[in-house]
Symmetry: C2
Subunit: 211 residues, 2 copies
């Protein structure tokens, strides 16, 4: 009624622009955060690696924490659907496992900074109360993501997942983290190990269909 309703729908409203800027700022910030980590990313450094000046952050975000939380939520939106294609296109259990393993390796190679940032923030949330809500929401959505893969695998295999999705997520997250560490350490074969481990693990998680 005040402004948005009266605006033409084809042109963006001020509110839209505001959100656009927040997203652009978040994208810059994520680059810096992925490079330096949470602790060493200052607002000035973040702003320097963007097209904005350092004061503008406080125009769009109340404080640093709000920026970080916004970033991490923004990042989540795009990353939890990473395996949707794999789930949708796989034609057999083995095919799914294969594509899944490939995708795991691919994302470690191409998005290592984002992954280490995630583990950094999750660790920080163990110390900073104010990060916990966002982190645990994302962790839940990653759990769901893994569950979609495992459930689809079970479906294709004519079986049922044998374990609770929380355990399965924990296990995959654990070996993924080891793969990431190995990759960043330059350990030869870290990625191939991860692929083999993931592919080999899927069938272990199945139980014969009961009902």
């Amino acid at each position: 009624m005040t402004q948005a309703a009266a605006r033409k729908a084809s042109r963006r409203t001020p509110a839209d622009k505001h959100d656009e800027r927040r997203r652009a700022l978040a994208e810059s910030a994520l680059r810096t955060l992925g490079e330096l980590g949470y602790a060493r990313s200052s607002l000035r450094e973040i702003a320097n690696n963007s097209e904005f000046s350092h004061g503008v952050v406080h125009y769009y975000f109340h404080d640093k924490l709000e920026l970080i939380v916004f970033c991490v939520r923004y990042y989540k939106e795009t990353c939890v659907h990473r395996y949707d294609g794999v789930v949708a296109e796989a034609t057999s259990p083995d095919d799914l496992a294969e594509r899944f393993g490939d995708k795991l390796v691919e994302t470690i190679v191409e998005e290592a900074p984002m992954h280490r940032l995630w583990y950094d923030l999750r660790s920080q949330s163990m110390f900073e109360e104010s990060l916990r809500e966002a982190v645990s929401q994302i962790d839940k959505s990653l759990d769901d993501m893994v569950d979609r893969i495992v459930s689809r695998y079970a479906e294709l295999a004519g079986a049922e997942p044998a374990l609770d999705s929380a355990v399965v997520y924990g296990m995959f997250d654990g070996i993924f983290q080891q793969g990431l560490l190995g990759h960043l350490n330059g350990r030869e074969g870290a990625l191939e190990d991860l692929r083999a481990q993931a592919v080999g693990m899927l069938p272990m998680l199945m139980a014969p269909k009961s009902v």
Copy 2:
């Protein structure tokens, strides 16, 4: 020849005292680090929570990083033998699994600050080259620690570990981390879940004896 050899063996040498101070400093530092995390633990804060003044740190350590690395190595020495008693005393596979699960829960409750510090430092090592060597050494010794448990379980069950120790470590570490996060988030049942998951996982890792 210069000083140590001439000293009486019953009294501590200056070099001993030096090491003693380093250890005392490390113990104080670990308390602060476990409370605040790596990023927010300043040398002044560390010194305030100890019996020393902030300048003394530079007398015993070249810089902050050397202190941190010393701390993390010192911590490792005492923690990788946490399950030695369990391994030594268990009389059957089920007994071992039971004791193992109990110990997991116990250490999360009693040593949560140390565990979150470990995950914090491991995450930092993904950004800071200079932490990687110490971290990956500790990670390896944790791998060995888990391997001792699983191997003993296999022995008691008359079976053999079905998977590489690296995978097994990754899996246990993953569910342990979830348990720690759940516990710190105050999630009801997080610890009981972890215990059940760990106990239930051990038999899954076995294969019939081959040779």
